[in-house]
């Protein structure tokens, strides 16, 4: 087990190092980094000062060491637009994104699992088929397009829900959250649903396939023979056995959800870090872009690591095959 954990942590560090090198190449080695790191409206004196400060006259390896040093201190430059450290601005927006991603994840499970189990128990019924057809649509329609349709239907045509923004927020332990106010909840429904739809389709397909497989197992037949109610069979015997793969996939998908939040946040004007990224791209605020990238990479690598370790703790076959390989 320890061998496996160490190996897996090593892989994560490798991924982080590789991304840091790629960012370094993208920002420093290709093109003039001063163009990227200095405000486009800066004058000659400011450009000269920044060049000296960044140490761009030094050899490349020394520049890289400097970059890594700053990275460890969380220093990724100062935003041109806000005039504050880029990392600080990103971290300020992080709670809004996390709130949205976690809510979407919960929605994906709470709606996706029952639908998937239903479609798995009755694969040939009209209901089961429509659930599958819906999940194919959820899969193939681009995320932003689903968001626009949600706005068109629920905000423009029906006028039930607000089309964008975060609504009223409450401060809890210094973090502003929406889900504790009625207005905030109303603002959260559409974006969370939008972000959840794609993963929900994934959960439905996964649950359906697993349910069909589990239903054929001997222990389900035995449970039926014992005369257990079908509710008990579904809730205890089937659900328990399909949750392991669902939980694993969802853990891994949390990372991609944070990335996809960029789209949802833009469509619904949700003030998270994804919206900040798009605004920064439009304003050419590059330090913020680099900070966003490094933070997201760290989050995704960490999530992948935790899920892998948890999974290997649950299923010894995984770590054994990895150690042998």
């Amino acid at each position: 087990m320890i061998v496996y954990i160490l190996r897996r942590i090593g892989q994560s560090l490798f991924a982080l190092a590789a991304m840091a090198i790629l960012v370094f190449i993208g920002v420093f080695a290709i093109g003039n980094p001063v163009d990227i790191l200095v405000n486009p409206e800066a004058n000659q004196a400011e450009i000269a000062a920044t060049t000296a400060r960044l140490g761009l006259d030094k050899p490349l390896w020394e520049q890289f060491a400097r970059f890594v040093g700053h990275l460890f201190q969380g220093d990724l430059g100062t935003s041109f637009v806000y005039g504050r450290p880029a990392m600080e601005i990103i971290l300020q927006r992080l709670p809004a994104t996390m709130e949205l991603a976690v809510t979407a994840l919960i929605l994906a499970v709470v709606i996706g699992v029952p639908l998937g189990v239903y479609a798995g128990l009755k694969p040939d019924s009209i209901g089961g088929r429509s659930v599958m057809a819906g999940s194919i649509l959820g899969f193939s329609l681009p995320n932003f397009w689903q968001g626009l349709l949600l706005i068109l239907i629920f905000a423009v045509l029906l006028g039930w829900l607000p089309a964008g923004g975060r609504g009223e927020t409450v401060e809890v332990l210094g973090i502003r959250v929406s889900f504790l106010t009625l207005d905030g909840l109303r603002h959260m429904i559409l974006p969370a649903l939008n972000l959840a739809l794609f993963k929900m389709s994934l959960v439905i397909r996964l649950t359906r396939a697993n349910t069909r497989e589990v239903c054929l197992q001997e222990y389900i037949k035995f449970a039926r023979a014992k005369g257990l109610s079908s509710t008990r069979i579904v809730l205890v015997h089937i659900l328990k056995n399909i949750m392991i793969p669902v939980v694993t996939i969802l853990g891994l998908e949390l990372g991609s959800m944070i990335a996809f939040a960029v789209v949802t946040e833009t469509v619904f004007a949700w003030p998270g870090m994804g919206k900040l990224l798009i605004d920064s791209i439009n304003l050419l605020d590059r330090p913020v872009i680099v900070a966003y990238l490094m933070l997201t990479v760290v989050i995704i690598v960490t999530i992948n690591l935790i899920v892998d370790l948890l999974y290997s703790a649950l299923d010894p076959r995984v770590r054994l095959s990895q150690v042998k390989a």
Partner: protein, 311 residues
Amino acid sequence: MSDDALTAGLAPTATAEPLAADSPFKRLLHTFLEDKLAVIGLVLFTLVVLLAIFAPLIAPQNPYDLAQLDVLDGGLPPGSASMSTGGIYYLGTDEQGRDMLSAILYGLRISLLVATVSLAFAIAIGVTAGTMAAYFGGKIDSLIMRMVDLQLSFPAILIALILLALWGRGVDKVIIALVIVQWAYYARTVRSSAIVEARKDYIEAAHCLALSHSRIMFHHLLPNCLPPLIVVATVQIAQAIALEATLSFLGAGVPITEPSLGLLIANGYNYLLSGRYWVSLFPGIALVLTIVAINLVGDRLRDVFNPRLQK
């Protein structure tokens, strides 16, 4: 034992004859056509491709020739007649008086162009890398697969968005970004099937004939790895179209002078709340139809090539 010898002697002549009459391609085509939905998808996709190729001939106006636009026709709902020429705008106009039908046809061109060109490059790079990894094994294999793993552990949209944020907009830049995020899928697919094929006798026979490495890899090994590759390619081209649309929607994709469907949707987004739904809705429907058509074909191809489902 004698039974085995008997069937071994008789079976090929008995069963192989009807199969030999059909070429494998014909047989696959036949299986494919059995599914009505897949045929609809294929017809729809062919239609979309033809519309895109012949857009300049079909479109009522060139939506990017400013001389043909009439500001007086701005923001007309679908089915209205033009104030100046009397022509009908079947899908309405945007605020500059641009015919949405023409804009969609031209947008389709850009969307499909970006997706196909990036697909071609991504396949070329991915297939070469995947075949080399499987064929040479050892250090080359682990180096290539490490890169693939690294690539696939990050969401494609994140990588593409960051690359375009640093490079700026442009059709060529979008294509490069799509190639970078997509090659790994092909490399992984080809490697997994090539590793199985590389152990087979005909590859050993090719070695004994002292053929060159590249000849064995690309003439002997690769053709036998094609079926899964074709399936992944159909799924990926739909993904590429969706990804390009998303990037353009976010303002990091194609430039305003060459709008794809995604950019058309983004331009119409601002009018959605004021009730001019058509500027955004119709390009979106075109995009969705294209993607769904490709996915229907892809779903069927997966079944057609799956030996377990073959009769």
